[in-house]
């Protein structure tokens, strides 16, 4: 078995699982760049998710209790000698945030980070779980909204109030940048020689992008997660980045009942698309990001 692997990483409700199920449909039926190299040890999870999509529905949120692991042996369809493992860590999306805040990951995580690992990070258009970057208005309110108290009064107030720990979410772009810095640290500690991991940023629910938005996935990340986008530009010597947009059905069957009715008359396997920033062209092969990550 090859030790090359692609790791799928995404916070809560970023579309990671739905991408996996859709890619699995291609991998299983050998009609994409990448196909299966034997059946994975646990196929039930993949099949049930794929079946959901074949009924024209999105697969549900991965339960925190049911933490499945998917290690899918894959190979390049045009060259059977090129083999790898598609790895979806056995974690729920929330754990991405927990690791970020704890500044620590387990031995299991550490073992996944090797010199041959590539990464696909997931962000979703219009996700309610995406925390927007800080803005001037918010900071202005905090720092200029009211006259600053005197040091003594301030200390007294803060001591008496004991500043209740507020649950304030960190912007998604900050979490992702620090995750990439974590990976960089781990890779370079273990492999001081030049290792330049491939990182694909996958923007899911691309059909939800505003109609008047002219750019591709890279431009979307630049506009919505500028810190992450700058990191990608200025760290090209340590990572190789690429951007993808994906849509499972080319529409939203949950909120658009007309669309739901429309796709019920169609073959769901022929819906949806992948958009690659390199040429901004669309394809119906959901294994393209995986093939790119493996440099196939």
């Amino acid at each position: 078995m090859s030790n090359r692997a692609v790791l799928l990483i995404g916070g809560p409700e970023t579309g990671k699982s739905n991408f996996l199920f859709r890619a699995w449909t291609h991998i299983d039926s050998s009609n994409g760049l990448v196909e299966k190299d034997g059946l994975p040890p646990d196929v039930e999870y993949l099949q049930s998710g794929a079946e959901c999509q074949l009924r024209g529905e999105f697969a549900g949120h991965t339960s925190q209790e049911v933490q499945m692991i998917s290690n899918i042996p894959i190979r390049l369809r045009s060259d059977f000698h090129k083999k790898a493992l598609l790895v979806v860590p056995d974690i729920d999306g929330e754990q991405i945030n927990r690791i970020y805040h704890a500044r620590k990951w387990s031995y299991d995580w550490e073992s996944l980070i090797t010199e041959s690992t590539a990464y696909l990070f997931f962000v979703r258009v219009n996700s309610p779980q995406t925390i927007a970057p800080l803005d001037w208005i918010a900071c202005h309110k905090l720092y200029c909204g009211t006259p600053a108290p005197t040091p003594a009064a301030d200390r007294q107030a803060s001591e008496s109030a004991k500043i209740v720990e507020k649950k304030v979410e960190t912007p998604t772009q900050v979490v992702l940048v620090d995750w990439l810095q974590f990976i960089l640290k781990a890779v370079h500690d273990k492999h001081p020689q030049a290792v330049r991991p491939r990182v694909g940023i996958v923007v899911t629910a691309w059909d939800c992008v505003a109609i008047d938005f002219q750019g591709g996935p890279s431009e979307w990340v630049k506009e919505n997660m500028p810190l992450l986008h700058q990191f990608c530009i200025t760290n090209e010597e340590v990572f190789e980045f690429s951007f993808f947009g994906t849509s499972i059905f080319s529409g939203d069957p949950i909120n658009d009942l007309e669309f739901k009715e429309e796709i019920s008359q169609k073959d769901p396997r022929k819906l949806g698309y992948i958009r690659h920033s390199s040429d901004n062209r669309e394809s119906d092969d959901f294994t393209i990001p995986i093939a790119w990550a493996l440099d196939w």
Partner: protein, 338 residues
């Protein structure tokens, strides 16, 4: 100490491999004997505990909040690191300056050619921006942090921002210290020791509250500022060629006009041999339509990065031309100063 151990047992009668390690059948090692097998002795819970411990090891990363003097070393490897000393009394606008710089970086609002590159204190910036990392009640810390841990409250240290300026990579370590440290330095020379990092800094930014400089207490602030300059020169003996910025904060509230009393402070700096660069700054503008947010912030950083004087605000080259063409003081191993 764990009592867990591994040993070989053999199913052949009379074999003593378990105690001697020697195979009765003369195999070179017990593993090669078909009758031999390896067993693990010790309490199951102990073995489980060891396994758990191994799993728990994993990897721990930098805290993300602020960097102590030891932590700074991980930044300084690989690229040139600019240490910037940020000084100013309580509420002068130091934190706003830091946050404004971060906000510009995080929203890609830095001037053309500049891009965010990395930061080991992202969460530190975020927490300060939301006022979640304030100096807590009780006595303030008296020393720079050596190493910060996740459980720490805000500690005197440095915030890190790595930027790219076209092809150039720049790492900034900006001091984040209580305003009271500046006040103490003015009042008591004995507190100067904790500022010794300034001797090896690449630049100093003294933040003066612009509104105070036109208020009733303006002459008190002038006196304080002049005393601070004397401390820097006479007590701390900072290099006189160090890029030195006098940052007038809250300039949006004073119509971006240099306060009249500033001339006296500038003159005092020049007389001490320093080459002050005066910059009017509005970290968070109350009138963003008139004075954009962040005016002056990058100018201050750029002045330190380039180590040269620029002309928009004041032309002091005419006064002391021999002192301004030196490169920034090189960053040396910070630990040696402690």
């Amino acid at each position: 100490m764990s009592s867990v151990a591994q040993k070989f047992v053999c199913s052949k009668a009379d074999c003593t491999v378990a105690t001697t390690g020697t195979c009765l059948l003369g195999k070179p090692t017990p593993q090669e004997c078909e009758y031999c097998r390896l067993i693990v002795t010790g309490q199951p819970e102990e073995r489980e505990s060891e396994k758990t411990q191994t799993l728990q090891d994993g990897r721990t990363f930098h805290t993300g909040s602020e960097l102590g003097t030891s932590d700074m070393l991980q930044v300084s490897s690989g690229s040139y690191t600019h240490i910037v000393g940020l000084m100013g009394s309580y509420n002068a606008g130091k934190t706003c300056f830091l946050l404004s710089l971060y906000l510009m970086a995080s929203r890609q609002l830095l001037p053309k050619g500049y891009l965010f590159r990395r930061s080991l204190t992202l969460q530190g910036f975020e927490d300060r921006a939301r006022k979640l990392r304030e100096w807590r009640g009780g006595p303030l810390p008296q020393e720079l942090a050596d190493h910060t841990s996740l459980a720490d409250e805000r500690r005197p240290g440095f915030l890190h921002l790595g930027i790219a300026k076209n092809e150039e990579r720049i790492d900034l370590l900006l001091s984040d210290l209580p305003g009271e440290w500046t006040t103490s330095l003015i009042n008591r020379a004995e507190t100067a020791k904790r500022w010794e990092f300034l001797k090896r800094a690449d630049g100093i930014i003294v933040v003066l509250d612009g509104v105070e400089l036109i208020g009733n207490n303006r002459f008190v602030h002038v006196t304080d500022a002049k005393h601070l300059l004397h401390r820097l020169k006479d007590t701390l003996r900072i290099p006189i060629d160090i890029p030195f910025v006098i940052l007038v904060s809250k300039a949006d509230e004073i119509q971006m006009e240099e306060p009249a009393v500033l001339g006296e402070i500038k003159q005092s700096a020049v007389e001490l041999g320093l080459a002050p660069k005066v910059i009017l700054c509005a970290s968070f503008s109350r009138k963003p339509d008139v004075v954009p947010n962040g005016v002056g912030v990058v100018d201050a950083v750029e002045h330190i990065i380039t180590g040269t004087l620029r002309k928009p605000y004041i032309n002091w080259e005419d006064l002391r031309p021999d002192r301004y063409n030196t490169a920034p003081t090189p960053f040396r191993l910070f630990k040696t100063l402690r």
